[in-house]
Each structure stands twice: as structure tokens, then as C-alpha cells.
Amino acid sequence: MKKGNDIDNLFREGLEQPDIPFNDAHWQAMEERLHPKQKRRIAPVFWFATLSGLAAMLLIVFFVMKPADEKLNSSLVVKKKVEQNNEYKSDDKVQTENQKEINIEKNKGLLEEKEILANADKPKVKNAEHGDLAKVENSSSSILKASPVNNNSLINTIASSNLSVIENSNQMIEFNGKTTFTADFVKPKNKVALKKLGNKSRFVLSVLAAPDLTSVKYSGQSNLSGSFGAELTFSITKSLSVTTGAAYAKKIYESGFGLYNPSSSYVFKTEPTNVRANCDVLDIPLNINYKIFDGRRNSVSVSTGLSSYLMLKEKYSYTYNSAYPGPASYEVKNQNQHYLGIANIGVEFQHKINSKLSVSARPFMKIPLTDIGYGNSKLSSTGVAVSVNMNLFKKSN
């Protein structure tokens, strides 16, 4: 170097060996960039959970719906039972007439019961059904009867063939009795349930996923978050309904340090410039919906209500603009609960797929009434909830 470059020396000596403390936040940013897979690996787990939750929900729903479907199969069940009875009869061919008379008497009793029930319910349909069933049974039982008869000794054959006419007629009544018994055994159950609910389903189960933009009021920054969960809607009147449920939400938001007001006495030596929060929240809504348009397939309703936030996990990461950074992050678990601290408003557009299923999209806003989380932020979310809705206990025909 030439002489006279003292200013160079001054700066070189002054700047060459700075003692800069390590900032872990910088490494974390670097790590994320170097190993982005780590983040992506978490995402599929999240979606796996969502999907499996959905699948479980569907399973439950179909199990709940099953009794209604069973009714359709009842005639099939009856036929099977008739066949079993036939086999039973042909094996014990040498049954005494006395036993049969007892059976007949029993069946008569059952028949009477059946008739009472039938009258109480839908006599026309029932009678028609039983008539058909009786015919089928007759033919089948006589065929089944024929073969074992041939296999037996003469005396027995004579005896049984003498009896067979009577037997056949008896069995006809007997099977009638049995079939009506089994059929009624299944039917009244449904009838009772249906009577309670009327012909319309009053409960709707929804499985929903809701991406949203979450932001702290006045921060001007919003981040993509999301939630998934299940909701149960109960119809009070034709157009008024109440919804509640639970949704697991991930709230990610960012704000300046000024909007972060933890109620702790901790004082930052160096004030962070920015705070980024990543919270796991259980959102329990209680909403009232009013149907403003109800078409044949599509309907529109407005909903409003309150949500409770149970903060499961909150993690705050701090960004510094200084050579002397403070702590990189802070985490709290299950510390904050905000009961009915958030107002919900939304408009739901519903499209019916069939009598049981519908899909809907609901743009919504969640407006904070209280300060939320450890950071006491005015946290609001705007998004669209997409859901699949299933009518529960709905009559299938």
C-alpha cells in the first residue's frame, strides 16, 4: 500500500475482525433453505391426518346411515330365514303334528301382532309385501319337501306324505308368521326414528377444510393458514339452523413488534423488529344460520355466531435488526383459552348432490373480540371453508 491511505488502514483495522455474535435465527433460515424437505415432510403428515380424519368421519356417517339401508334388504333377510326354516323342517320331518299346532298357534299370535302393527303403520304396502312373500315361500318349501320324502322308508314315506299336505298348508301360515315377524322386527325401529324426525332430516354433519388468510389488525401483513374439522348443524325451522363443531386450525401470522403485547414482565434487551407466530388452535364455533334462498338444488344462507379458541400451542419467532439479537423464539402450550372471544360471519353456498349429500363453500371472516394468544394480538382470519355435508337419519326412499 502507498503511504497516505490511512483512512484505508483505519477502516481495515476497524472492520477486519469484527466480533459478531452468532444469530441462530439466521442459521434456521439457512437450514430451511438447505433442507426444505423437512418442511414438506410435515405438510403431508398434516394432510394425511386431515384425510384420515375425513375418512373416519365418512365411515361413522355410513354406519349411522346403515339402519336405513337395512330396511331395503329386509326382504332378502326374510327369504334367507325362510330357507333356514325349510331346512330345519325337512331335517326333522318326523315332527309331530302337535308341535306344529303349537307352532301355528304361536304364529297366529304373531300374525295378530303383526296385523296390529301393520294397521298402525302402512297397511297397504305391508299386505302386498306379505302376499308376495307368502307365495315365494310356498313354492320353495314344497320343493324342498319333495326330496327328503323320497329318501325315507316306505312307512315313513306314507306317513309323511299323508302329513305333507297338512304340513305344507301349516308351513304356509307358519312362514307367513315368521316372515312378518322378522320384517316387523326391523321395520318398527325405523318407523319410530322417522316419526320423531318427521320426513326431513334435521341433523347435518359437515366435514370441512378451510384455508384462510390470517393477520393481526393494523399490521397490514397476512399469512396463509388453514383449518379442518367437523360441524353438526341442527335445523330448528325450515330456514333457521344452529351449527357447532370443532376445527383444528393452524394460525400463522406476522406483525411488527409494536403489535405484540405479551402480558409478561419479560423485557427484550434488543427489541425485535418482527414477530412471527405459529399457533395450533382448536376452534369451537357456535353459529346461527338463516337460509335466505332455497332452490331445488342450491341454497344460500348467512351465518353468524361466536367461536372459542383453545390455543394448543403458540410459537413466536423474533426477527432482529441488530447485531445483538435477543431470543430467537418463545413457545407456550395450552395457556390461553378465549371462550366465545371471536365473532364469525359468513355466507354459505350449498349445492345438493343427492338427498343425503351436499357440498358447500362458505366465505367467512373471524373477527376478534378479545386479544388472542400470548402476544395479545387482534387476530382476524378471512377465508373460504369448503365442506361436504351429510344428512343424518334421513329416510332413504
Partner: protein, 207 residues
Amino acid sequence: MIPSRNGEHALESYINSCIRNEREGQQALYKHFYGFAMGICLRYANDRLDAAGILNDGFFKVFKNIEKYEKDKPFSAWIGRIITNTAIDYYRVNLKFADHADISDYDEIAQEHSVYAKLAYEDLLALVQKLTPAYRTVFNLFAIDGYSHEEISEMLSISVGTSKSNLFKARQKLQDMLKTPVSTHQERKIVAFDVNQVRVNFNTNTK
């Protein structure tokens, strides 16, 4: 500024680990050279936020190209060069080597030589960061990183004359800024340097 002197073997194991793309090695290397690299970034950057951005951009290049490092050469020089180039790239858009000297911004005159003694890293850094990217880059490359004007002209795709002119103007500005009172910093480290030498020979015209 060679932090690896005593841990030559450790450094080699870090590098090998980085070649295998292992997180542990990468973190160790990052930690090891953090101060060194950040020192460079801060000098070339407008502010700390930019510096942190440059730092990670540079380190990203280091990790992605670590297998290209030739082991017989000093690693710190290699990493320093990458960080420096990243810093230059960062402001390439802003590197307008037009003659836009605006000395009037800094023409307050104060003859408080004693204040030099208090000049610390933070203060010097603040002064360097006050320079325009064009002046700052040339000053950094020449005065602190020890590149020649020929090398600088190549690195920045400018003429040797422009490099010299920018260096001159950078020094002039720094000198002007040194004359103005330095705002007292809360946490400052005193840098040991010869106050008298600075005071006596304040000659910016080196060539």
C-alpha cells in the same frame, strides 16, 4: 481472520460432512464462519437486514458448491471470495458508477479529533454503510479486501479509471463523515488504532 488455524482438522471434517449434505456439518461450518462472513456482508450491505440476506445467499452458494473447493487452498479465502461476490451481485443493480457525488450532504465541519479514539466497529460500519453501493463496493474491495484496481475493474466490469475515481470519492466522503461528530452508540467496542497517525496523515490522495 482465519478462524480455522487451531481447528484445521475439525474444519476438514466439517467440509467433508457438508459434501455429504449433512445438517450437522453445515451448521458447524456456518457457525464457524458466521462472524467472518457476516463481517464482510455488513461492510458491503446497506443495512443489517440486507447483510443477513447476503450472508445466507452466500452460504447457500458455499454449501451447494462445497465439493468444488480445492483443499490445498485456504478455506476462509474461498468462502470470503464467495461472500464478497454475492455481496457485489446483491447490489449489482444499484452499482451505477456514474459521477453522482453529493458531498453537500456531509459537508458539516467539526474538528473534534478526539472523537476518532472512540470510533468503534459499529461507527466505522455505519459510515461505510452510508456510502452509495458503488463507492462502498470499490472501497471495500480495495481498502479492506486488498484487491487491486485491475482486479476490481474485472470484478465489477468497470474501467480501472472508474475504480480509482470511486475509491478516491469514497475516501473523501468517509473523511468528511469522520469530521462530523459521531452519534454516541449504546454498546460500542473501542477499536485499537493509532490516533496520531490518523490525525496527522489524513491524506486521501494515495495515487
